[in-house]
Amino acid sequence: MNKGVLLLEDGTRFEGELFGHPGPAFGEIVFNTSMSGYEEILTDPSYRRQVVVFTNPQMGNYGITLEDGESRRPWVEGVIVREQSPSPSNWRSRLSLRKYLEEHRVAGLAEVDTRALVRHIRDHGAQRCAIGPAGQDLMEALKAQPSMVGLGLAEEVTCEQPWRMGKGPHRVAVLDLGVKMGILKELASRDLELEIYPAGTKAEAILSTRPHGLVLSNGPGDPSALTHIIPEVKKLVESGLPTLAICLGHQLTALSLGARTFKLKFGHRGGNHPVSCSHTGKVEISSHNHGFAVDPDSLPPELEATHTDLYDGCLEGFRHRTLPVQCVQYHPESSPGPRDSLYLFDWLKEQLHAQTH
């Protein structure tokens, strides 16, 4: 057994057993309260430069399917669990969590008192951390790591080349800020032809292909640091094309139209937050993954709040009063999480239909 340690920026240490890659690994420590869906979480590009603590104590039970990933590789820097399952069981399982992390050189620390760790993060906020072998002094290296605030990461995870997916009468341009496969699959399953563009693509280049609609994807990092992308987003949004923006896309849209974003103490990550929607009057149990949020008081008059988190009042969605633009902070594609919010993809489809008829 390899003894390992998790060191937090504030000096707190948690001991455990290393599995996967022994590290050292660095990132921002965050926790996720989903009870299933670790494969999706590990491969979600929004977790770039983060170390994820799973509150669910039994991890790896069904192994890795290699089918349910949100991208082709894990993006997290490290994984912290109470107990990892030595031998998975599921008819779709292809390999164990441990093996998968080893193969992709992702650090893992098991046998950790994750509840104490979560309590610490809840009370003291997300912060930089390091995972490494027990004896190693990691503080200096940790301090050399950048903080999440001010860190633009979309370009580290975006696609290199534009690419296409799906078929259908309507073409939708997707600005890939770290897009999850789940979003693309939901769109494609609605008979949409997708053109996926790297994060740095200029608005003109996209608009010149005359897409019928736009999707601004999720992604990692501090939205306000993406100063070169924000003006492009403004042009895209104001093009008048039906637009659905999710997560980082939602934050960039808000910023581009004059609103502010801020960092949450420890963010929302999980699959059980209730979000109330002013369109439907209903509560959706939703999938979340965000460390930043849009300040609802800063919304310019042309934007109207549509979705609110009932846990903490956090702004979870808004729309444009005159343009067909809907933005949500949470993840309507879920993956992982409850599939209560798929109507947003239907909304986009309806808008596209309305525009062309």
């Binding site: 869906g37 669910n56 039994q58 349910d68 107990e83 399952s85 599921n90 209730p274 149990i285």
Partner: protein
């Protein structure tokens, strides 16, 4: 949407007595609902026949009816109370079926009573297996291949379409009643016929067998605005084929990927919507093919269920309370999550722990019953354990069962013979055998294939089979019960928000959420999983005590491991520990809490067993008194010393001594092991052969303590007495005369108050006896005694220095919270400080019991000194016949006049049976009797038909099967062991013919029948009855 203001008065229907398949989970749900509705300002009318419940505490509702749960009686209540609405979804299947029956009779419409929670159409769609399948089809959810049979002519067609193996499921039953598995072609026809009989509608679903598939359950909440949340997901460790109530289950789901889980979640919500359950909690079950992942929906219950109780306790989400709030129009986002205090109820709890539920069986009580689990439920209780990992929870769960297990230990090693059957046949011990098989080198894969248990779980068991050396690892796997633990909060949100409600479980985790509780603290130890002899009544008293303590400004801390109970609701106590009631677990809690006292005397035998090991002051009666009475030997000495009259007896430490004692006393003698509850392993011995056969059994049950042999008192009246004591003085709170003679366990006997047969002198004598005892032993709080009475002579049979199961019944009958008074005494007050009461009531209250014969095939349904009943009911009326009639109706007897009464009594009873025969004839019965009995009856001028001998076409059993007999009176003698008498009784049970096995019982039954003949019963609320009690001048 705010709460509805167009309704004011709501009727809540409870679920009646505890039976296999319907236990105290509905006390939990009814209690939560009543409190929630009251808090919203509604007037609540409540009906339940079960006095051993918190929900029937008369302070909870505006009008509380302890009346039989029959359509006629509930109709009478509706006519009297005229409520605006009826909430039928919190009282189990009983309540739902009653609501349907009242709807069908047109009563609801006539009285404009609205059904809340689920409308008739939704109930039908969910309960009628055929309609349910149509719902599934509409929303694109698969169902198992099936055939709906509503006519026996379709038998052949069904056989062809579905084939064998298949599963038969009667419509409109609960707890899998009547469900059966057909594995052999020749079983098909008889099994289908049985199933048709078991369904109240005579309809049966014949279904493709999904044996070996994975089984899952989801608990859904939905509100009027169509918000729906899944409160909890549950995975069955035992694969399909074992009823979920009998399966070990785990929450949350462990072996599904998110994708599969979300498909199931969506399906659940879609199905509930399609079924049309507007508001409240629902339970929905799925099967998943482990090899390909195909998912089918098995059933949905449009009501709060046993699993809802489990889900509530597992997550901290109070399903029943919220279901009640939703039923009157509130929506989920409008309701606050009590646990966090800052978030709404429209969320899905996230668990950062693992919950394991383990059923508790009672096969040891029913030696003849088939010990094999199947689609029909057989367990009598359950325990739940919370741990940070599956193994920690599993190990704790086995400890919580209170069957002496130290986790999944080596107790059953000797029974494991290496045969594959031990793994393939589902039994209560199967998990042990899987572990032994792994220990003996079987591969995980093989063990999983044989047992059908998912490899993930088998792998975990493999770790137990080959435990590590490392002490830390061992602790986390739950292998070290004495390890130092921390207390973690059940907070609904996996630590994302700070929890406000102190609901704790222990774990070998390095840190916890525990903070000190200020104030004067008292710990109450409750009674653990339900079992025969120790059920909801003890939980009821613990709840009463918690309420009393809190009303007196103290903090009440509860410890219990039974998820079905009210005591494990987080808002009953100041602090709840969901923990086993074992030595180590309780010691650790006491060490943390340092309470000023512990209350042991209300939780039955469970806490008493710990009395010597607690490092905290015990409130009330001290352990020494417990020893003096529990040890049958010391008790005999004590009685002699105090000059109390007991039945002659002697002590044996081995069989040789037993032979000597028995011969000295003369048969019949009674075998009584010490330190057991509810007469475990007690037996009446008629001769030496009996002694040879049963002594070893009793010796084992006594677990090293001595065994007592008593002269068996024949034809004695038994009296159960409860009293309050303050160390020097005693006051009786109830003198209950049994309907059955001594020799039938007091827990199985019907009984009544106020006393009718005992003289004032005898009652005074009893009180004096108890005073002498209480003084000698320093009894403070509740105590109980049983007497055998022959003529004017009283024989003290036993004394229990603790609260007995009859106390809740007395509380309900009197309208006095005797438990609160006991708490006062335990806190140091004197009896003279308490208000007085009169033992004489101006009405009669009968208690009757419910027996599990129908569930446990292969049993001779005969009562004896070992308790076998699972639950009880109460009937109150101005005359004894009426009260007993109500009790009979409430306990499920079908009362019918004018059929054939079959009488067969032992010689001693022959003379006394004549007047009974005459009264039966007067009631319009035709008499059937066996030779000897017929002779006696004829001689006194009665017309009797002699029944054919066994094997002849007009034999009793054949005629019962044909529905020709409507009452059986059979008192067994030495013939107790004769098979044909036993067969007759079994047939009576199977055919639901009222069966009386004692003459005393028969007297009362005839009296009740006579009352029945005189016209409809009157209903009255407890509050009304209690106002009739004569006030006693202080």
């Amino acid at each position: 949407m705010p709460k509805r203001t167009d309704i004011h008065k709501i009727l809540l229907i409870g679920s009646g007595p505890i039976t296999i398949g319907q236990a105290c989970e509905f006390d939990y749900s009814g209690t939560q609902a009543a409190r929630a509705l009251k808090a919203l300002g509604y007037s609540v009318v409540l009906v339940n026949s079960n006095p051993a419940s918190i929900m029937t505490d008369p302070t909870l509702a505006d009008a509380t009816y302890i009346e039989p749960l029959t359509p006629e009686i509930v109709e009478a209540i509706l006519r009297k109370e005229r409520p605006d609405a009826l909430l039928p979804t919190l009282g189990g299947q009983t309540s739902l079926n009653l609501a349907l029956a009242l709807h069908e009779k047109g009563v609801l419409e006539e009285l404009s009573v609205e059904l809340l929670g689920a409308n008739v159409e939704a109930i039908r769609k969910a309960e009628d297996r055929g309609l349910f399948r149509e719902c599934l089809k509409k929303v694109g959810v698969e169902a198992p291949r099936s055939f709906y049979l509503d006519n026996l002519d379709q038998l052949e067609q069904a056989r062809n379409e579905i084939g064998v193996p298949c599963i038969l499921r009667p419509a409109y039953t609960l707890g899998g009643g009547g469900a059966s598995l057909v594995t052999q072609p020749e079983e098909f026809e008889p099994f289908v016929r049985n199933a048709v009989r078991a369904s109240p509608m005579g309809e049966v679903l014949i279904e493709q067998s999904l044996l070996g598939w994975k089984e899952y359950e989801l608990e859904v909440m939905r509100d009027k605005a169509d918000n729906a949340v899944i409160v909890c997901s549950i995975e069955n460790l035992d694969p399909m084929g074992v009823h979920t109530g009998d399966s070990i289950t785990v929450a949350p789901v462990q072996t599904l990927t998110d994708r599969e889980y979300q498909v199931m979640r969506r399906a659940a919500v879609d199905v509930i919507r399609e079924v049309g359950v507007e508001t409240g909690g629902c339970n929905i079950q799925f099967g998943v093919d482990p090899s390909r992942g195909q998912m089918v929906c098995i059933e949905a219950n449009p009501r709060v269920s046993r699993s809802s109780a489990l889900a509530s306790k597992a997550t901290g989400f109070p399903i029943a309370k919220i279901a009640a709030q939703l039923a009157v129009g509130l929506t989920l986002p409008e309701i606050t999550n009590d646990i966090t205090g800052c978030t709404p109820a429209s969320y899905e709890p996230s668990l950062d722990y693992v919950v394991v539920k383990i059923p508790r069986f009672a096969f040891e009580k029913f030696p003849g019953a088939v010990k094999r689990l199947g689609p029909s439920m057989k367990s009598v209780g359950e325990t739940m354990a919370i741990g940070r990992t599956f193994l920690e929870a599993l190990q704790k769960g086995y400890r919580s069962l209170e069957q002496g297990y130290d986790g999944l230990d080596d107790r059953h090693r000797g029974e494991y013979d290496g045969s594959e059957e031990k793994l393939t046949i589902p039994t209560p011990e199967r998990l042990f055998f899987v572990k032994y098989a792994l220990q003996d080198g079987m591969s995980v894969q093989k063990a999983s294939e044989l047992s059908g248990i998912d490899p993930w779980f088998v792998n975990q068991l493999h770790r137990l089979a080959h435990p590590p050396e490392d002490p830390m690892q061992r602790q986390r796997m739950g292998l070290e019960p004495t390890a130092k633990v921390n207390y973690l909060a059940v907070d609904t949100c996996a630590g994302e928000f700070p929890a406000r409600t102190p609901y704790f479980y222990s774990s070998a985790e390095s840190s916890g959420d525990w903070t000190p509780l200020e104030g004067r603290k008292v710990v109450i130890l409750s009674s653990g999983p339900n079992r025969i002899g120790q059920g909801v009544e003890f939980d009821c008293m613990c709840v009463q005590a918690a309420q009393a303590l809190r009303a007196r400004g103290l903090e009440a801390i509860l410890v219990n491991s039974n998820p079905e109970t009210v005591s494990t609701d987080y808002d009953i106590s100041s602090r709840l520990y969901f923990e086993p009631i074992t030595r180590d677990s309780v010691a650790s809690i006491l060490e943390r809490e340092q309470p000023e006292g512990v209350i042991l005397q209300l939780g039955g035998q469970t806490p008493l067993k710990l009395s010597h090991h607690l490092k905290a002051p015990i409130l009330g009666t001290q352990p020494e008194a417990i020893d003096a009475t529990e040890s049958r030997e010391r008790f005999a000495q004590l009685a002699e010393e105090l000059g109390l009259n007991i039945a002659p007896g002697g002590i044996a430490r081995n069989i040789a001594e037993a032979r000597v004692v028995a011969r000295e006393l003369g048969y019949p003698v009674l075998l009584r092991p010490s330190y057991v509850l509810s007469g475990s392993a007690m037996r009446v011995l008629l001769d030496d052969a009996d002694l040879e056969r049963w002594y070893p059994w009793a010796e084992k049950a006594a677990e090293g303590h001595e065994v007592l042999l008593d002269k068996f008192l024949e034809d004695a009246l038994e009296v159960d007495v409860d009293a309050l004591a303050d160390g020097t003085d005693v006051r009786l709170i109830g003198v209950m005369e049994h309907v059955e003679e001594a020799g039938i366990h007091s827990g199985d006997s019907a009984c009544s108050i106020p006393p009718r047969a005992l003289s004032a002198l005898q009652i005074a004598q009893i009180e004096e006896d108890l005073r002498t005892l209480a003084r000698k032993l320093g009894i403070v709080g509740l105590m109980n005694a049983q007497y055998g009475v022959r003529g004017s002579r009283l024989y003290l049979l036993e004394v229990n220095p603790r609260a007995s199961r009859t106390v809740p019944y007395l509380c309900k009958a009197f309208g006095i919270d005797f438990v609160a008074l006991a708490v006062d005494l335990m806190l140091g007050r004197k009896l003279s400080d308490l208000p007085p009461w009169d033992l004489n009531l101006p009405y009669f209250a009968f208690k009757e019991v419910v027996l599990p014969w129908k569930r446990l095939e292969g049993m001779d349904p005969l009562l004896g000194p070992e308790m076998k009943s699972t639950g009880e009911v109460m009937g109150i009326d101005t005359e004894p016949g009426g009260a007993y009639l109500k009790a009979l109706l409430a306990s499920g007897h079908r009362v019918k006049l004018g059929g054939r009464a079959f009488i067969s009594v032992r010689d001693e009873d022959k003379r006394a049976v004549v007047p009974l025969g005459k009264r039966l004839v007067k009631l319009g019965f035709t008499l059937l009797a066996t030779d000897g009995t017929a002779d006696v009856l004829r001689k006194s001028g009665l017309e009797v038909e002699v029944i054919g001998k066994l094997g002849e076409p007009d034999h009793a059993i054949a005629r019962m099967t044909r529905g020709e007999i409507s009452l059986v009176l059979n008192t067994p003698s030495g013939a107790e062991r004769k098979r044909d008498a036993a067969d007759i009784r079994m047939a009576a049970v199977a055919c639901e013919v009222p069966l009386v096995t004692t003459l005393e019982g028969a007297q009362n039954v005839v009296e009740a029948f006579e009352r029945y003949a005189r016209g409809p019963l009157e209903v009255r609320s407890l509050q009304e009855w209690h106002r009739m009690r004569t006030p006693v001048a202080v």
